[in-house]
Structures are given as C-alpha cells and as structure tokens.
C-alpha cells in the first residue's frame, strides 16, 4: 500500500503543530531537511484503509519567503523533484485572520497543488461570536473546508475524511498583470517552466534554490532587461490578492459580536509594561534558574546512585584490569554523567516550551529587542540565547526564525558561549575540587562561582556579538515585524513532545560520542610503539632494582600509559598547555573534549585508571589526589582549576555544534572563525588566569 504524502501549511500561530500532533499522535519523528537543518517533523496515520504521510512545514505568511523557514516552504512546494514535495496540501487558517490563510491557500492552488482548507481554533471564534459560512467559503475557494479545534480534537475525523477529496480545476488563478506578460514568457523559455504562475514566482523571487546557476542568471538578466524589482512584484501580487479576497470573502466571516475586554489585553498591559514587563521577565528567569537547580536535585541524586550501583556491580563482575576501568569508569560513568542532566534539560525545555505555547515568548522578543540591538542582535535572538543554556544544538537551529542574515549569523556565532548543560559536569567537579566550601555574605562560595560562570557565558556572548557586529556585513535592512498572538493555555501533549524530542536528542547524541570516545581512548591508551611501552617491565626492573611488588605494578602501568599512543599524544601537546597549568594527562582530556566537552570527567577517569591499579577510588577522589608531574603540586589546584573553568567556558568543544553551525551558516569560513575565535579566546583567558594566580 502506498502512502499519500500530504503537507500541512499555514501562517504561524494558527495551531498547526497541535493539529499535527492530533493527526499523527506518537507516530511521528523529527529529522532534518537535506542540506539545511530546519527541523523537519513527519508522521503518519491511516484512515479508511489509506495510509497518509504528513509533513509539518514551518509557518509561513505567504509563498514569497522573508526567512529561512519560509524559503523552505517555497522550495518544498514549488519543486516537484524535492523529496518532500507533497501530493496534496492542507492549508490551516485562523478564523480571525481568514484573509491571510486564504491568500496562502490561493498561492498554493495557483502553483498547481491540490489543497483543502482548514479553519482551526473554531472554539475560540465561537466564543468571540464569529460565524463562518462554510458553504459559501467552499464555493469561493472551490475546495472542501473543514472546521477544527485541534486543542479539543473537534473536527479531526471530518478532516481525515476530507483528505481523500480531490478538488477539480484551480479556482480563478492569479491574473499576472499584463505589463509583465513578456517578462514571464521570457522566464518560461529560459527556465523551461511551462506553468504561468510558477514562472511568475521565479521572476518575483530573489533567488530560486532549485534552479541551476545558468537559469538563475538568465532570470536575473530578464529582470534587469525589463527593469523589474522582485520586491515590487511581490508587493503587487500581495496587494492584488488582498483586494480580491476582501471582495470575495465579504459576508463569509462575521464580525465578532462580543467586544468585552479580552484576557490578552489585560495580561499584556502588565506583561509588556515598560517597567513591570521587564521585572516579571527577570523574575521568571530567576524562577527557571532556581527550578533547574532545586527541582532536579532529588532526580539527579537518584540517577547518580543508580549509576554508582551499576558501576560497582559491573566492577565486581569483571576481572580487575584496564577493561574493567573502561567499562566502569569510562562507559558507565560517562553515560551516567549525561543521564544525570536529563532532569535539568527537561525542566528547562518545559519552561521554554510553555513560554512558546502560551504566546509569552513573542512578548520576550518584544521586550528584549531594544536591549539586544546594540549588540547586532534582534529581539528574536533572545530565544536561541535562552535555549543555549540547555544545549547549543537546538538553540542554533532556533535562530532560523531571524529574518535578517546578519543578526541570524551573529546569533549563531555567539550562542555556543552560553553555559550549556554539558559544561555543568566539568564546572561542578572542578569547583568542588578547587573552591573551598565556605560562605561569603551568607551565600555558598561554590554556588556563587557557578553563578559567576553563567554570567561569564552571557557576557562572552554579548561581548563577542558586539565585536562581530563591526565585521559582519548585511545586504538586507534589519527589521522586526512580529505577530503577538493571544495568550493560550499550553497544550500538554505539545509540551511533552517538545521535551521528549529535545531530551532524547541530547542523550542519544552525547551518549554515542561518549561511548565512541571511551573506546578510542582505551584502545589508544592500551597500545604503544615505544620500547618503554613494549618492554616496560624490563626497563622498570633495571631502573629500580629494589622496588616492591605493588610499586612495581603501579610503576609499569603508569609508564605504559605515558608511552602509549594516547600518552604520546598528550605529551605532544604538553608544551602548549603547560603555561595554562595542565600536565599531559589533562592534555588527553582536553583533546577528547573537542569531540564533546562533557567527556572530560570520564576521560580523566579512564586515563587515571589506566595508569594505576587502585580501583577503589571514585573519579573525584582520584582527581583530588592526582599530582602534576611537572610542578609536584596537586593537578587540580586553585590556579589550574580556574584556568580549566575559563577554558571550558569559552572554548568551542563540541563536534555536534560545529556540524550544526556549518549546516546553518552554510559557510566553512564562519564555522572556522567561530572555532578559532572561541578556542583562542579560551586559551588566552586560561593563560592569563593561571599566570596571575600561580
């Protein structure tokens, strides 16, 4: 049985995602579109022996793109060879903005795609006293119209039934103004596009991704020859459609009968107030921060104990030796080090998703715009920056709603400075080792330092944005045109889906890397080419003839680690990191951290357990007792500890983020600049701190 591919299209804030979740339930998955990392949500369901594959396209106001999200909608719908090109489209509209939905619907029909029209949120419309003449609307749009309320599930069966409907011919297509007829004819020949409206779209778009270079140039030349601006054409089409729709939709949608002051108005008076709006937002941020730390406590303790138990059991079950160390300290402890952050990530995403769902997030954008603009950012950068406190990967992806290329690029480049969850295990372990447990002005010193690290992340992000602003050029004017929807009760299942997706993505992604790195480290640490590795026992015996048996074992193992491939790598970079206060063993941790910073602690555990026989100590105890062979002082002292904290705060140590930045910016240049800038800055900050304190 073949699946029918359908696409959900609609303006932002019409409840499209809720409808998608209703249709597909748990049968959905999140992936990426090839080439760009706009999140792609697909799902499937069956109705009356028909299988449907649904793709949830990003929200768009019209077919002419003004952001990356909208560009994607155009590409998928206009290009029949696109793998996501649907067989039919469901256009979802909001009853308060039927014009807008109908405009998008007409554009899609004019492109030659069959579509049905869904008016969602009808419960809200009924409460406001709006009536919709469905029969007349069906006649005007010449398709099936379905009224739904995705929140309550109303109309979902009718929608599923309507999917089988095939509208006949396109309704009166958009009349291309006669003055452009010749230009459109020229485009049809140049691009081999027989379809009038699709050719018109080629002409009225700055760039059409799915055409090849010669065709793009040909179209640009046609525009030039006819003295056309793509922008003017878009405006002309939109204006003409508005006028036409105003006339045609007259009498179909009733005016609201209730004029009582709505809840949104009253709430906004406070939430977007020039003073109280900010006070409330910052109190909310404090609440989120507080919740992440206190609510997650019991869960984190439980996970910690469970993994400690697991490691002990595995340790007893396997014979002692390096393999035991790999499994217990490397893999189990490493995975545990990730799982333990699930509660914090989940709590953060619960808040972020509640803010998005309720409509409050657009108020945050409104409030923050003025304060982010001096840094070359937009109010819309507030969302990626806040999500960056959980994980830079979804945060960088969420920057795609920023229309201006410069603001979007700067947001992507600075978001990885925000303190993500992966930095926490390092911060917590290092702070625990080097910051004394005492109170300053009644506050825990260790907690203050941790808070300071968060602050440092924000300052680094804003500071570097300010610097980047001077170098990044833009071809576009920056603007902020943002819809602020009415406040709505968040839909629980939408929140759950978001939290589940993001958390799973983080755990699976990081888990894979930890597993791979632990094994690679273990292999590199267990083999060596140097004769001090292969003949370690002999050499130790000759150099220390009077050594006791226990010391002999230790000495052999630590010498083997030092001359293993891993040790050789560590010693190779040692000259570069000695000024920062690290030894070659920490160098190995640093190298491994460039894959993902959260592996530092588990790497150090693997390194220390390979180099010694004592399996009784925990990672933390082992780190506390480790002596830096160069200085003869504890490896983790105040100077080297702060130096490490600063290094991890600023360095770009996450392969997944690098990969995402490369995809999202579509530029190796900016990806490498970011990598070099962050890591260079980290090196200098760590160097300065160590040399000052030492």
């Amino acid at each position: 049985m073949t699946k029918t591919k359908i696409a959900l299209v609609g303006n932002p804030n019409v409840g499209k995602s809720t409808l998608f979740n209703r249709l597909t339930g748990m049968r959905q998955r999140v992936g990426n579109y090839p080439g760009i990392t706009v999140e792609k949500r697909t799902g499937s369901f069956s109705h009356q022996q028909r299988e449907y594959e649904v793709i949830d396209l990003p929200g768009a106001y019209g077919i002419h793109p003004s952001s990356l999200d909208e560009e994607l909608v155009y590409d998928v719908l206009a290009d029949p060879s696109n793998p996501n090109h649907p067989e039919s489209v469901v256009v979802i509209a909001d009853p308060f903005n039927l014009y807008r939905g109908a405009l998008l619907y007409q554009q899609i029909r004019d492109m030659g795609l069959p579509a049905i029209f869904v008016v969602n949120m009808v419960d809200e419309a009924e409460r406001a006293g709006i009536s919709i003449d469905t029969v007349k609307l069906e006649d005007t749009l010449s398709t099936r119209v379905v009224l739904t309320d995705a929140r309550s599930g109303r109309g979902m069966e009718a929608l599923k039934a309507a999917l089988a409907y095939k509208p006949s011919a396109a309704p009166q297509p958009f009349a291309i103004p006669t003055e452009y007829a010749r230009a459109v004819e020229a485009v049809k020949t140049a691009a081999g596009q027989p379809h009038d409206y699709l050719a018109w779209l080629y002409l009225s778009q700055k760039r059409v991704k799915h055409l090849d270079e010669p065709q793009q140039t040909a179209i640009a030349n046609i525009r030039q020859a006819h003295h056309l601006s793509h922008h003017r054409l878009q405006i002309q089409e939109t204006m003409a459609r508005h006028q036409d729709l105003e006339h045609r939709l007259k009498g179909i949608v009733g005016k609201p009968t209730t004029t009582r002051e709505r809840f949104t108005d009253r709430a906004d008076r406070l939430l977007t107030h020039p003073l109280w709006g900010y006070v409330i937002f910052f109190l909310l941020l404090l609440l989120i921060f507080q919740a992440i730390y206190t609510w997650s406590g019991p869960f984190m303790d439980g996970i910690d104990q469970a993994f400690a138990w697991l490691a002990t059991q595995a340790g007893k079950w396997l014979p002692p030796g390096p393999l035991n160390g790999l499994l217990t300290d490397g893999i189990i402890a490493g995975i545990g080090g990730i799982v333990i952050f699930i509660p914090q990530i989940a709590i953060l995403f619960v808040f972020i998703s509640l803010m998005e769902e309720s409509g409050y997030m657009s108020r945050v954008v409104f409030l923050m715009d003025r304060w982010l603009r001096p840094f070359g950012l937009s109010g819309k950068s507030a969302v990626p920056l806040m999500s960056g406190a959980a994980c830079a990967i979804p945060a960088v992806m969420s920057a795609r709603t920023i229309e201006n290329d410069k603001e979007r690029l700067i947001t992507i480049l600075v978001t990885p400075f925000m303190t993500c969850s992966a930095r926490l295990p390092i911060y917590i372990v290092i702070i625990g080792l080097v910051i004394p447990q005492q109170r300053v002005l009644g506050l825990e010193l260790q907690a203050l330092v941790l808070f300071g690290m968060y602050l440092l992340g924000i300052l680094a992000a804003l500071g570097s944005a300010w610097v980047l602003k001077l170098f990044v050029k833009s071809n576009y004017k920056s603007f902020l045109i943002l819809e602020m929807p009415t406040y709505k009760y968040p839909v629980a299942r939408n929140v759950l889906f978001t939290v589940w997706d993001k958390t799973k993505g983080f755990v699976v992604g990081a888990g894979k890397i930890i597993l791979a790195i632990s094994i690679i480290l273990w292999v590199l640490g267990s083999f060596g080419l140097d004769e001090r590795f292969t003949d370690a026992e002999e050499i130790v015996r000759t150099e220390n003839p009077d050594i006791s048996d226990a010391d002999f074992e230790n000495k052999v193992q630590s010498q083997q680690l030092e001359y293993s491939i891993l040790g050789t790598l560590g010693r190779f970079i040692e000259p570069a990191i000695t000024p920062l206060g690290y030894d070659w063993k920490m160098g190995i941790g640093l190298i491994a951290s460039f894959a993902a910073r959260e592996v530092f602690v588990s790497t150090m555990a693997t390194v220390y357990s390979l180099g010694g026989t004592d399996d009784e100590l925990t990672i933390r105890e082992r780190m506390a007792s480790e002596i830096n062979a160069n200085t003869g002082r504890p490896a983790y002292n105040l100077a080297s500890g702060l130096s490490l904290l600063l290094f991890y705060a600023f360095a770009m140590q996450c392969m997944s983020t690098i990969a995402i930045v490369r995809k999202e910016t579509n530029s190796w240049k900016w990806t490498l600049i970011q990598l070099a800038f962050m890591t260079g800055f980290a090196y200098l900050a760590a160097l300065f701190a160590y040399q000052l304190l030492n």
Partner: protein, 80 residues
C-alpha cells in the same frame, strides 16, 4: 500633500487608519501581516528608549510588534 504622521507618532491607545507608506521598499511581511491602507488600528504599547511599539489591528485579536524604524514608514490618519 502635507506629511502625515506615522504610526510611531501615535499616543498610546490612539486609533488611526493606515493611509500609505513613506517608502517603496518596505518589507513584504508588513503586507502579509495585513498592515494595508484602509486598515484601522490602535497603538497598544510603546517601550522606552525608542524601543519597539505594539499595534493592534481592530477586529484582530493578535497584535503586531514593530521597531520604530518600520513604524516610521507607515503613515496614518488619526481617528477619534
């Protein structure tokens, strides 16, 4: 034609009708959002230090936020 005031010159709570635009190349999004000539709106909120403003098209529950630079482009006639 005497220069008309722009949206950004409205008082908070003041009602006005869009009569035109000051420049040609205004973002297509303004049109798509329905900020078209003939549309009546009120100024809902204004943030300090030349921050963005928030307007509400009459009859539409969703509001629209604009930076001052965009608001300056939209010319209006005040209505009582």
């Amino acid at each position: 034609m005497a220069e008309r005031p722009s949206i950004s010159q409205l008082e908070k709570g003041e009602k006005a009708v869009i009569v035109g635009y000051r420049a040609d190349d205004i973002p297509i999004k303004l049109y798509e959002m329905g900020l078209l000539p003939g549309v009546a709106l009120t100024l809902k909120q204004r943030l300090p230090f030349n921050g963005p403003i928030c307007v509400q098209v009459i009859g539409n529950p969703n509001a629209v936020a604009l930076r001052k630079t965009e608001a300056d482009l939209i010319l209006v006639d005040s209505i009582a």
